[in-house]
Protein backbone atom coordinates (compact mmCIF):
# COMPACT_ATOMS: atom_id res chain seq x y z
CA UNK A 1 0.00 0.00 0.00
CA UNK A 2 1.22 3.47 -0.79
CA UNK A 3 1.69 5.77 2.19
CA UNK A 4 2.31 9.44 2.82
CA UNK A 5 2.75 11.94 5.64
CA UNK A 6 -0.20 14.14 4.70
CA UNK A 7 -3.12 13.37 2.41
CA UNK A 8 -5.11 16.40 1.32
CA UNK A 9 -8.58 15.79 -0.09
CA UNK A 10 -9.90 18.47 -2.43
CA UNK A 11 -8.08 20.81 -4.82
CA UNK A 12 -9.87 24.08 -4.11
CA UNK A 13 -8.01 27.03 -2.56
CA UNK A 14 -7.77 25.42 0.89
CA UNK A 15 -6.50 22.07 -0.36
CA UNK A 16 -4.06 23.60 -2.84
CA UNK A 17 -2.61 26.00 -0.26
CA UNK A 18 -2.39 23.25 2.37
CA UNK A 19 -0.66 20.81 0.01
CA UNK A 20 1.71 23.44 -1.33
CA UNK A 21 2.82 24.52 2.14
CA UNK A 22 2.98 20.97 3.52
CA UNK A 23 5.23 19.89 0.64
CA UNK A 24 7.41 22.97 1.10
CA UNK A 25 7.80 22.02 4.76
CA UNK A 26 9.20 18.68 3.68
CA UNK A 27 6.16 16.49 4.25
CA UNK A 28 5.50 13.70 1.79
CA UNK A 29 2.17 15.10 0.58
CA UNK A 30 -0.48 13.68 -1.72
CA UNK A 31 -3.51 15.68 -2.91
CA UNK A 32 -6.53 13.72 -4.15
CA UNK A 33 -9.28 15.48 -6.09
CA UNK A 34 -12.25 14.26 -8.04
CA UNK A 35 -12.07 16.86 -10.80
CA UNK A 36 -9.79 16.58 -13.84
CA UNK A 37 -7.88 19.78 -13.02
CA UNK A 38 -7.00 21.72 -9.86
CA UNK A 39 -8.93 24.77 -8.64
CA UNK A 40 -12.03 23.37 -6.95
CA UNK A 41 -15.34 24.91 -7.97
CA UNK A 42 -14.23 28.50 -7.29
CA UNK A 43 -11.18 28.33 -9.57
CA UNK A 44 -12.53 25.64 -11.84
CA UNK A 45 -10.56 25.21 -15.09
CA UNK A 46 -8.52 28.32 -14.23
CA UNK A 47 -5.46 26.84 -15.97
CA UNK A 48 -7.23 26.35 -19.28
CA UNK A 49 -9.72 29.25 -19.39
CA UNK A 50 -8.64 31.58 -22.19
CA UNK A 51 -8.45 35.38 -22.04
CA UNK A 52 -12.08 36.03 -23.04
CA UNK A 53 -13.43 33.63 -20.44
CA UNK A 54 -11.12 34.94 -17.69
CA UNK A 55 -12.25 38.50 -18.46
CA UNK A 56 -15.87 37.49 -17.97
CA UNK A 57 -15.19 35.58 -14.76
CA UNK A 58 -13.25 38.52 -13.33
CA UNK A 59 -10.14 39.27 -11.28
CA UNK A 60 -11.20 37.20 -8.26
CA UNK A 61 -11.30 34.12 -10.50
CA UNK A 62 -8.02 34.93 -12.25
CA UNK A 63 -6.35 35.15 -8.85
CA UNK A 64 -6.73 31.37 -8.55
CA UNK A 65 -4.13 30.84 -11.25
CA UNK A 66 -1.29 31.80 -8.90
CA UNK A 67 -2.55 29.35 -6.27
CA UNK A 68 -2.70 26.54 -8.82
CA UNK A 69 0.72 27.44 -10.25
CA UNK A 70 2.29 27.40 -6.78
CA UNK A 71 0.80 23.97 -6.17
CA UNK A 72 2.03 22.62 -9.51
CA UNK A 73 5.53 23.92 -8.68
CA UNK A 74 5.47 22.32 -5.22
CA UNK A 75 6.66 18.83 -4.45
CA UNK A 76 3.15 17.59 -3.61
CA UNK A 77 1.90 14.60 -5.57
CA UNK A 78 -1.37 15.27 -7.39
CA UNK A 79 -3.98 12.62 -8.11
CA UNK A 80 -6.62 14.10 -10.37
CA UNK A 81 -9.86 12.27 -11.06
CA UNK A 82 -9.53 10.49 -7.71
CA UNK A 83 -12.84 9.75 -5.99
CA UNK A 84 -12.31 9.09 -2.26
CA UNK A 85 -15.01 6.60 -1.26
CA UNK A 86 -13.91 5.49 2.19
CA UNK A 87 -11.45 6.38 4.93
CA UNK A 88 -10.81 3.97 7.79
CA UNK A 89 -10.25 5.01 11.40
CA UNK A 90 -6.52 4.35 10.92
CA UNK A 91 -6.56 6.76 7.97
CA UNK A 92 -6.33 4.33 5.09
CA UNK A 93 -8.02 6.03 2.15
CA UNK A 94 -9.89 3.97 -0.45
CA UNK A 95 -10.23 5.80 -3.72
CA UNK A 96 -11.34 5.15 -7.25
CA UNK A 97 -9.31 6.44 -10.17
CA UNK A 98 -9.60 5.53 -13.82
CA UNK A 99 -12.12 2.79 -13.06
CA UNK A 100 -9.97 0.98 -10.47
CA UNK A 101 -9.81 1.35 -6.71
CA UNK A 102 -6.67 1.47 -4.58
CA UNK A 103 -5.50 2.57 -1.16
CA UNK A 104 -3.34 5.26 0.35
CA UNK A 105 -2.29 5.25 3.99
CA UNK A 106 -1.82 8.71 5.51
CA UNK A 107 -0.33 9.76 8.84
CA UNK A 108 -2.52 12.86 8.70
CA UNK A 109 -5.48 13.91 6.62
CA UNK A 110 -6.54 17.42 5.69
CA UNK A 111 -10.14 17.44 4.50
CA UNK A 112 -10.61 20.35 2.10
CA UNK A 113 -13.83 19.38 0.38
CA UNK A 114 -15.34 22.85 0.50
CA UNK A 115 -18.97 23.76 0.31
CA UNK A 116 -22.18 22.75 -1.43
CA UNK A 117 -25.20 24.90 -2.13
CA UNK A 118 -27.85 25.10 0.54
CA UNK A 119 -30.84 23.13 -0.72
CA UNK A 120 -33.98 25.11 -1.51
CA UNK A 121 -36.87 22.76 -2.16
CA UNK A 122 -39.75 24.51 -3.91
CA UNK A 123 -42.50 23.44 -6.28
CA UNK A 124 -40.99 22.48 -9.64
CA UNK A 125 -37.33 22.49 -8.53
CA UNK A 126 -36.77 19.01 -9.99
CA UNK A 127 -37.72 20.08 -13.54
CA UNK A 128 -34.96 20.04 -16.16
CA UNK A 129 -33.77 23.61 -16.71
CA UNK A 130 -33.75 24.34 -12.99
CA UNK A 131 -30.20 24.37 -11.67
CA UNK A 132 -28.21 25.86 -8.86
CA UNK A 133 -26.67 29.27 -9.52
CA UNK A 134 -23.31 27.56 -9.07
CA UNK A 135 -24.13 25.26 -11.98
CA UNK A 136 -24.53 28.25 -14.33
CA UNK A 137 -21.19 29.55 -13.14
CA UNK A 138 -19.46 26.18 -13.58
CA UNK A 139 -20.77 26.01 -17.16
CA UNK A 140 -19.17 29.41 -17.79
CA UNK A 141 -15.87 28.56 -16.11
CA UNK A 142 -15.36 25.04 -17.40
CA UNK A 143 -16.79 25.37 -20.91
CA UNK A 144 -17.48 29.04 -21.61
CA UNK A 145 -21.16 28.15 -21.89
CA UNK A 146 -23.58 31.00 -21.17
CA UNK A 147 -27.29 30.65 -20.48
CA UNK A 148 -29.16 33.47 -22.16
CA UNK A 149 -32.40 34.67 -20.58
CA UNK A 150 -31.78 32.97 -17.25
CA UNK A 151 -33.72 33.95 -14.14
CA UNK A 152 -31.66 33.93 -10.94
CA UNK A 153 -33.66 33.42 -7.77
CA UNK A 154 -32.77 33.33 -4.10
CA UNK A 155 -30.35 35.16 -1.87
CA UNK A 156 -26.64 35.63 -1.36
CA UNK A 157 -23.52 37.13 -2.92
CA UNK A 158 -23.21 34.39 -5.56
CA UNK A 159 -26.60 35.33 -7.01
CA UNK A 160 -25.31 38.81 -7.84
CA UNK A 161 -21.89 37.57 -8.90
CA UNK A 162 -23.38 35.15 -11.44
CA UNK A 163 -25.75 37.88 -12.65
CA UNK A 164 -22.80 40.28 -13.13
CA UNK A 165 -20.79 37.61 -14.95
CA UNK A 166 -23.72 36.92 -17.27
CA UNK A 167 -23.90 40.66 -17.97
CA UNK A 168 -20.17 40.68 -18.77
CA UNK A 169 -20.67 37.69 -21.05
CA UNK A 170 -23.24 39.73 -23.00
CA UNK A 171 -26.18 37.68 -21.75
CA UNK A 172 -27.84 39.66 -18.95
CA UNK A 173 -30.26 37.50 -16.98
CA UNK A 174 -33.96 38.06 -17.53
CA UNK A 175 -34.43 38.87 -13.84
CA UNK A 176 -32.91 38.63 -10.39
CA UNK A 177 -35.58 37.49 -7.92
CA UNK A 178 -34.32 38.07 -4.38
CA UNK A 179 -35.86 36.34 -1.38
CA UNK A 180 -33.85 38.27 1.22
CA UNK A 181 -36.47 39.40 3.78
CA UNK A 182 -36.61 43.15 4.33
CA UNK A 183 -36.04 42.69 8.07
CA UNK A 184 -32.60 41.24 7.30
CA UNK A 185 -31.42 44.55 5.86
CA UNK A 186 -32.26 46.35 9.09
CA UNK A 187 -30.61 43.65 11.19
CA UNK A 188 -27.50 43.64 9.00
CA UNK A 189 -27.02 47.40 9.40
CA UNK A 190 -25.70 46.80 12.91
CA UNK A 191 -22.97 44.58 11.44
CA UNK A 192 -21.97 47.10 8.79
CA UNK A 193 -19.19 48.94 10.68
CA UNK A 194 -17.42 45.67 11.49
CA UNK A 195 -17.80 44.51 7.88
CA UNK A 196 -15.93 47.57 6.64
CA UNK A 197 -12.80 46.23 8.36
CA UNK A 198 -12.61 43.42 5.79
CA UNK A 199 -11.03 45.04 2.76
CA UNK A 200 -12.96 45.35 -0.45
CA UNK A 201 -15.99 43.12 -0.01
CA UNK A 202 -18.74 45.68 0.35
CA UNK A 203 -17.51 47.90 -2.48
CA UNK A 204 -17.24 44.84 -4.69
CA UNK A 205 -20.78 43.77 -3.87
CA UNK A 206 -22.09 47.24 -4.55
CA UNK A 207 -20.33 47.36 -7.93
CA UNK A 208 -21.81 43.97 -8.89
CA UNK A 209 -25.34 45.08 -8.07
CA UNK A 210 -24.87 48.37 -9.92
CA UNK A 211 -23.56 46.57 -13.00
CA UNK A 212 -26.56 44.24 -13.08
CA UNK A 213 -29.10 46.99 -12.54
CA UNK A 214 -27.46 49.27 -15.12
CA UNK A 215 -27.70 46.46 -17.66
CA UNK A 216 -31.46 46.78 -17.31
CA UNK A 217 -31.96 43.51 -15.50
CA UNK A 218 -35.29 43.43 -13.68
CA UNK A 219 -34.90 43.07 -9.93
CA UNK A 220 -37.53 41.88 -7.49
CA UNK A 221 -36.92 42.13 -3.74
CA UNK A 222 -38.58 40.26 -0.88
CA UNK A 223 -39.98 37.53 -3.16
CA UNK A 224 -42.05 34.76 -1.59
CA UNK A 225 -44.21 31.83 -2.71
CA UNK A 226 -41.77 30.90 -5.43
CA UNK A 227 -42.76 28.06 -7.75
CA UNK A 228 -41.52 26.83 -11.08
CA UNK A 229 -43.91 25.88 -13.86
CA UNK A 230 -43.34 23.40 -16.62
CA UNK A 231 -44.40 20.03 -18.00
CA UNK A 232 -41.22 18.21 -19.07
CA UNK A 233 -38.92 21.18 -18.45
CA UNK A 234 -39.05 24.55 -16.70
CA UNK A 235 -41.04 27.16 -18.59
CA UNK A 236 -41.69 29.94 -16.05
CA UNK A 237 -41.12 31.08 -12.48
CA UNK A 238 -43.97 32.42 -10.35
CA UNK A 239 -43.68 34.40 -7.11
CA UNK A 240 -45.18 37.20 -5.12
CA UNK A 241 -43.33 40.44 -4.41
CA UNK A 242 -44.63 43.65 -2.84
CA UNK A 243 -48.11 42.16 -2.73
CA UNK A 244 -48.24 41.47 -6.47
CA UNK A 245 -48.18 38.12 -8.26
CA UNK A 246 -45.41 37.89 -10.82
CA UNK A 247 -44.70 35.37 -13.56
CA UNK A 248 -41.60 35.35 -15.76
CA UNK A 249 -41.17 32.92 -18.63
CA UNK A 250 -37.76 31.29 -18.65
CA UNK A 251 -36.23 27.96 -19.62
CA UNK A 252 -33.20 28.41 -17.33
CA UNK A 253 -33.94 29.10 -13.68
CA UNK A 254 -31.00 29.14 -11.28
CA UNK A 255 -31.57 28.86 -7.53
CA UNK A 256 -29.25 29.96 -4.75
CA UNK A 257 -29.52 30.24 -0.97
CA UNK A 258 -25.87 30.45 0.01
CA UNK A 259 -23.47 27.61 0.63
CA UNK A 260 -22.91 25.24 3.53
CA UNK A 261 -19.97 22.98 4.47
CA UNK A 262 -19.79 19.69 2.58
CA UNK A 263 -19.97 17.27 5.52
CA UNK A 264 -19.70 13.91 3.77
CA UNK A 265 -16.11 13.07 4.69
CA UNK A 266 -16.06 14.63 8.15
CA UNK A 267 -19.31 12.78 8.98
CA UNK A 268 -17.87 9.53 7.59
CA UNK A 269 -14.86 10.00 9.85
CA UNK A 270 -17.23 10.54 12.82
CA UNK A 271 -15.82 13.99 13.55
CA UNK A 272 -17.97 15.94 16.02
CA UNK A 273 -20.27 18.41 14.28
CA UNK A 274 -22.19 21.34 15.73
CA UNK A 275 -25.05 23.50 14.53
CA UNK A 276 -23.81 26.97 13.65
CA UNK A 277 -26.74 29.30 14.31
CA UNK A 278 -25.05 32.25 12.61
CA UNK A 279 -24.33 30.40 9.37
CA UNK A 280 -27.49 28.26 9.70
CA UNK A 281 -25.61 25.06 8.96
CA UNK A 282 -23.76 22.15 10.51
CA UNK A 283 -20.01 22.36 10.64
CA UNK A 284 -17.32 20.06 12.02
CA UNK A 285 -16.00 21.15 15.40
CA UNK A 286 -12.42 22.34 14.91
CA UNK A 287 -9.89 24.61 16.53
CA UNK A 288 -8.89 27.74 14.58
CA UNK A 289 -6.18 25.81 12.75
CA UNK A 290 -8.56 23.11 11.56
CA UNK A 291 -7.85 20.25 14.00
CA UNK A 292 -11.06 18.22 14.24
CA UNK A 293 -12.25 16.09 17.16
CA UNK A 294 -10.62 13.07 15.48
CA UNK A 295 -6.89 12.56 16.01
CA UNK A 296 -4.81 13.58 12.97
CA UNK A 297 -7.82 14.70 10.95
CA UNK A 298 -7.87 18.37 9.99
CA UNK A 299 -10.46 20.39 8.09
CA UNK A 300 -9.38 23.42 6.05
CA UNK A 301 -11.42 25.99 4.17
CA UNK A 302 -15.18 26.25 3.71
CA UNK A 303 -15.64 22.65 4.87
CA UNK A 304 -14.83 23.90 8.38
CA UNK A 305 -17.29 26.81 8.14
CA UNK A 306 -18.06 29.22 5.33
CA UNK A 307 -15.41 31.93 4.95
CA UNK A 308 -15.01 32.30 1.20
CA UNK A 309 -12.13 31.65 -1.19
CA UNK A 310 -9.56 34.07 0.28
CA UNK A 311 -10.12 32.75 3.77
CA UNK A 312 -9.95 29.16 2.48
CA UNK A 313 -6.50 29.64 0.94
CA UNK A 314 -5.27 31.26 4.16
CA UNK A 315 -6.78 28.46 6.22
CA UNK A 316 -5.15 25.76 4.08
CA UNK A 317 -1.72 27.23 4.67
CA UNK A 318 -2.50 27.81 8.35
CA UNK A 319 -3.44 24.15 8.77
CA UNK A 320 -0.19 22.97 7.18
CA UNK A 321 1.86 25.36 9.34
CA UNK A 322 -0.04 24.33 12.48
CA UNK A 323 0.75 20.67 11.80
CA UNK A 324 4.40 21.60 11.37
CA UNK A 325 4.32 23.61 14.59
CA UNK A 326 3.22 20.48 16.45
CA UNK A 327 6.22 18.71 15.02
CA UNK A 328 8.44 21.55 16.22
CA UNK A 329 8.93 22.88 12.70
CA UNK A 330 7.49 25.51 10.45
CA UNK A 331 7.31 29.22 10.65
CA UNK A 332 5.58 30.53 13.80
CA UNK A 333 5.76 34.17 12.67
CA UNK A 334 4.06 33.39 9.36
CA UNK A 335 1.43 31.26 11.12
CA UNK A 336 0.62 34.17 13.40
CA UNK A 337 0.36 36.69 10.58
CA UNK A 338 -1.84 34.35 8.48
CA UNK A 339 -4.21 33.86 11.42
CA UNK A 340 -4.48 37.64 11.79
CA UNK A 341 -5.07 38.09 8.07
CA UNK A 342 -7.80 35.44 8.13
CA UNK A 343 -9.47 37.10 11.12
CA UNK A 344 -9.47 40.41 9.24
CA UNK A 345 -11.01 38.78 6.17
CA UNK A 346 -13.69 37.19 8.36
CA UNK A 347 -14.88 40.61 9.58
CA UNK A 348 -17.37 40.75 6.68
CA UNK A 349 -19.00 37.45 7.64
CA UNK A 350 -21.42 38.57 10.40
CA UNK A 351 -22.83 41.16 7.99
CA UNK A 352 -23.24 38.65 5.16
CA UNK A 353 -24.60 35.95 7.48
CA UNK A 354 -27.23 38.29 8.90
CA UNK A 355 -28.23 39.79 5.57
CA UNK A 356 -28.31 36.51 3.65
CA UNK A 357 -29.59 34.13 6.31
CA UNK A 358 -32.15 31.93 4.56
CA UNK A 359 -35.71 33.22 4.79
CA UNK A 360 -37.92 31.02 6.98
CA UNK A 361 -39.76 29.58 3.96
CA UNK A 362 -36.50 28.21 2.51
CA UNK A 363 -36.16 25.50 5.13
CA UNK A 364 -39.90 24.95 5.57
CA UNK A 365 -41.20 23.72 2.21
CA UNK A 366 -44.92 23.08 1.70
CA UNK A 367 -46.15 19.54 2.37
CA UNK A 368 -46.42 18.53 -1.29
CA UNK A 369 -42.93 19.78 -2.24
CA UNK A 370 -40.29 17.15 -2.99
CA UNK A 371 -37.37 17.43 -0.54
CA UNK A 372 -35.32 14.30 -1.32
CA UNK A 373 -34.86 14.56 -5.09
CA UNK A 374 -33.42 11.05 -5.51
CA UNK A 375 -36.23 9.12 -3.80
CA UNK A 376 -38.88 11.80 -4.39
CA UNK A 377 -39.87 12.17 -0.74
CA UNK A 378 -42.04 15.17 0.12
CA UNK A 379 -41.84 17.52 3.09
CA UNK A 380 -45.29 16.30 4.15
CA UNK A 381 -44.14 12.67 4.23
CA UNK A 382 -41.19 13.66 6.43
CA UNK A 383 -43.50 15.56 8.81
CA UNK A 384 -45.84 12.55 8.92
CA UNK A 385 -42.90 10.27 9.79
CA UNK A 386 -42.03 12.59 12.67
CA UNK A 387 -45.66 12.46 13.82
CA UNK A 388 -45.35 8.67 13.80
CA UNK A 389 -42.38 8.91 16.14
CA UNK A 390 -39.29 9.15 13.93
CA UNK A 391 -36.92 11.12 16.19
CA UNK A 392 -34.29 12.06 13.61
CA UNK A 393 -33.00 11.92 10.04
CA UNK A 394 -31.79 8.33 10.21
CA UNK A 395 -35.21 7.04 11.24
CA UNK A 396 -36.83 9.18 8.52
CA UNK A 397 -34.36 7.58 6.12
CA UNK A 398 -35.45 4.09 7.25
CA UNK A 399 -39.13 5.01 7.02
CA UNK A 400 -39.08 6.80 3.67
CA UNK A 401 -35.73 6.21 1.89
CA UNK A 402 -35.04 9.97 2.11
CA UNK A 403 -31.27 10.37 1.72
CA UNK A 404 -30.88 6.79 0.50
CA UNK A 405 -30.63 7.51 -3.23
CA UNK A 406 -27.43 7.98 -5.23
CA UNK A 407 -26.66 11.46 -3.81
CA UNK A 408 -26.72 9.91 -0.33
CA UNK A 409 -28.36 12.90 1.28
CA UNK A 410 -25.90 15.48 -0.04
CA UNK A 411 -28.74 17.65 -1.33
CA UNK A 412 -31.64 17.02 1.05
CA UNK A 413 -29.75 16.50 4.32
CA UNK A 414 -29.87 20.06 5.69
CA UNK A 415 -33.57 20.50 4.89
CA UNK A 416 -34.55 17.08 6.27
CA UNK A 417 -32.88 17.99 9.57
CA UNK A 418 -34.55 21.43 9.54
CA UNK A 419 -38.03 19.98 8.91
CA UNK A 420 -37.66 17.43 11.70
CA UNK A 421 -36.27 20.06 14.09
CA UNK A 422 -39.14 22.44 13.37
CA UNK A 423 -41.74 19.73 13.93
CA UNK A 424 -40.10 18.58 17.17
CA UNK A 425 -39.54 22.13 18.42
CA UNK A 426 -35.78 21.76 18.77
CA UNK A 427 -32.65 23.09 17.07
CA UNK A 428 -31.22 21.18 14.09
CA UNK A 429 -28.18 20.61 16.31
CA UNK A 430 -30.35 18.59 18.69
CA UNK A 431 -32.00 16.78 15.78
CA UNK A 432 -28.71 15.75 14.20
CA UNK A 433 -27.89 14.68 10.68
CA UNK A 434 -27.73 11.63 8.44
CA UNK A 435 -25.11 9.06 9.38
CA UNK A 436 -22.78 8.97 6.39
CA UNK A 437 -21.44 5.57 5.40
CA UNK A 438 -19.09 4.25 2.73
CA UNK A 439 -18.93 4.18 -0.18
CA UNK A 440 -19.16 7.99 -0.23
CA UNK A 441 -20.31 7.78 -3.83
CA UNK A 442 -21.65 4.76 -5.69
CA UNK A 443 -18.95 2.72 -7.41
CA UNK A 444 -19.56 -0.32 -9.64
CA UNK A 445 -19.73 -3.72 -7.94
CA UNK A 446 -17.27 -4.99 -10.56
CA UNK A 447 -14.73 -2.41 -9.35
CA UNK A 448 -15.24 -3.46 -5.73
CA UNK A 449 -14.81 -7.13 -6.71
CA UNK A 450 -11.43 -6.36 -8.29
CA UNK A 451 -10.32 -4.27 -5.32
CA UNK A 452 -7.71 -6.29 -3.47
CA UNK A 453 -6.33 -5.12 -0.19
CA UNK A 454 -2.66 -5.98 0.29
CA UNK A 455 -1.71 -7.55 3.64
CA UNK A 456 1.36 -5.55 4.55
CA UNK A 457 2.14 -1.88 3.97
CA UNK A 458 4.96 -1.18 1.54
CA UNK A 459 6.81 1.97 0.76
CA UNK A 460 5.68 3.85 -2.28
Amino acid sequence: MKSCDIAVIGAGPAGLAAATRAADLGYDTVLLDEQPSPGGQIYRAVETADHARTEVMGADYARGRAIVDAFRASGAAYMDGALVWNISTDRVIDFSRGGASSQLSAKRIIVATGAVERPWPLPGWTLPGVTTAGALQILMKASGIVQEDAVLAGSGPLLWLVAAQLVDAGAPPRAVVETTPRAHYRAALAQLPAALRAPGYLAKGWRMMRKVKRAGVRHFAGAENIAIEGADAASAIRFTAKGASERIEASSIALHQGVVPNQQITRLLRCDHAWDAAQQCFRPVTDEDGQSSVQEVYVAGDGAGIGGALSAALHGEITALAIAARDGRGDPARLKSLRAERARDAAVRPFLETLYAPAPHVTAPADDTIVCRCEEVTAGAIREAVNLGAPGPNQVKSFLRAGMGPCQGRVCGPVVSAIIAERRGETPGATGYYRIRPPLKPIPLSELAQFTIPDAPEDR
Binding site: L127, L139, A233
Partner: protein, 98 residues
Protein backbone atom coordinates in the same frame (compact mmCIF):
# COMPACT_ATOMS: atom_id res chain seq x y z
CA UNK B 1 -30.96 29.64 -25.39
CA UNK B 2 -27.34 28.83 -24.79
CA UNK B 3 -24.16 30.10 -26.37
CA UNK B 4 -20.41 29.96 -25.98
CA UNK B 5 -18.18 32.83 -24.85
CA UNK B 6 -15.55 31.73 -27.39
CA UNK B 7 -17.24 31.66 -30.82
CA UNK B 8 -14.75 29.26 -32.39
CA UNK B 9 -12.66 26.38 -31.20
CA UNK B 10 -11.67 22.81 -31.79
CA UNK B 11 -14.65 20.43 -31.78
CA UNK B 12 -15.40 16.70 -31.71
CA UNK B 13 -18.57 14.66 -31.75
CA UNK B 14 -20.44 12.08 -29.70
CA UNK B 15 -24.06 10.97 -29.77
CA UNK B 16 -26.99 11.36 -27.39
CA UNK B 17 -29.95 9.12 -28.15
CA UNK B 18 -28.45 8.75 -31.62
CA UNK B 19 -28.29 12.50 -32.23
CA UNK B 20 -24.89 14.01 -33.02
CA UNK B 21 -23.62 16.37 -30.31
CA UNK B 22 -20.76 18.77 -31.00
CA UNK B 23 -18.46 19.18 -28.00
CA UNK B 24 -15.29 21.09 -27.24
CA UNK B 25 -12.20 20.05 -25.30
CA UNK B 26 -12.82 20.49 -21.58
CA UNK B 27 -16.55 19.82 -21.87
CA UNK B 28 -18.18 17.33 -19.57
CA UNK B 29 -20.98 15.37 -21.18
CA UNK B 30 -23.43 17.51 -19.20
CA UNK B 31 -21.83 20.72 -20.50
CA UNK B 32 -21.89 19.58 -24.13
CA UNK B 33 -25.53 18.52 -23.85
CA UNK B 34 -26.42 21.86 -22.24
CA UNK B 35 -24.67 23.69 -25.09
CA UNK B 36 -26.73 21.61 -27.53
CA UNK B 37 -29.92 22.73 -25.79
CA UNK B 38 -30.66 19.29 -24.31
CA UNK B 39 -31.89 19.47 -20.72
CA UNK B 40 -33.90 16.26 -20.31
CA UNK B 41 -31.35 13.58 -19.38
CA UNK B 42 -33.28 10.86 -17.58
CA UNK B 43 -36.53 9.75 -16.00
CA UNK B 44 -36.59 9.70 -12.20
CA UNK B 45 -36.70 6.34 -10.42
CA UNK B 46 -39.97 6.73 -8.50
CA UNK B 47 -42.38 8.81 -10.60
CA UNK B 48 -40.62 8.58 -13.96
CA UNK B 49 -40.54 12.36 -14.28
CA UNK B 50 -37.84 14.03 -16.41
CA UNK B 51 -34.63 15.25 -14.78
CA UNK B 52 -31.59 17.14 -15.96
CA UNK B 53 -28.46 18.91 -14.83
CA UNK B 54 -28.84 20.47 -11.38
CA UNK B 55 -25.54 21.07 -9.53
CA UNK B 56 -22.86 20.51 -12.25
CA UNK B 57 -20.37 19.51 -9.54
CA UNK B 58 -20.97 15.84 -8.89
CA UNK B 59 -23.07 16.35 -5.80
CA UNK B 60 -26.73 15.81 -6.78
CA UNK B 61 -26.61 12.75 -9.09
CA UNK B 62 -29.52 14.11 -11.11
CA UNK B 63 -27.64 14.02 -14.43
CA UNK B 64 -27.22 10.23 -14.49
CA UNK B 65 -27.00 8.85 -18.03
CA UNK B 66 -25.94 5.66 -19.79
CA UNK B 67 -22.53 5.95 -21.46
CA UNK B 68 -21.44 3.22 -23.89
CA UNK B 69 -23.89 0.84 -22.25
CA UNK B 70 -22.83 1.61 -18.66
CA UNK B 71 -25.68 3.16 -16.66
CA UNK B 72 -25.62 5.51 -13.64
CA UNK B 73 -22.78 7.68 -14.94
CA UNK B 74 -22.71 11.29 -13.80
CA UNK B 75 -22.83 13.38 -16.99
CA UNK B 76 -21.28 16.36 -15.18
CA UNK B 77 -18.31 14.31 -13.91
CA UNK B 78 -17.57 12.49 -17.15
CA UNK B 79 -15.46 14.14 -19.83
CA UNK B 80 -17.06 14.21 -23.26
CA UNK B 81 -15.03 12.19 -25.72
CA UNK B 82 -15.22 11.52 -29.43
CA UNK B 83 -17.49 8.65 -30.39
CA UNK B 84 -19.20 8.09 -27.02
CA UNK B 85 -22.74 6.75 -27.22
CA UNK B 86 -24.79 8.43 -24.51
CA UNK B 87 -28.39 7.53 -23.75
CA UNK B 88 -31.12 8.82 -21.45
CA UNK B 89 -31.52 6.74 -18.34
CA UNK B 90 -35.04 5.54 -17.72
CA UNK B 91 -35.90 5.01 -14.07
CA UNK B 92 -33.94 2.61 -11.88
CA UNK B 93 -31.17 0.35 -13.12
CA UNK B 94 -30.98 -3.44 -12.77
CA UNK B 95 -27.76 -5.10 -11.63
CA UNK B 96 -25.75 -5.98 -14.72
CA UNK B 97 -23.11 -8.60 -15.41
CA UNK B 98 -20.01 -6.79 -16.59
Amino acid sequence: MVRRIEPDGETFEFTFEGRTIVARPGDSIAAALTAAGIVNLRDSVVSGRPRGVFCMMGSCFDCLVEIDGVPNRQACMTAAASGLEVRRQRGGVEVQAS
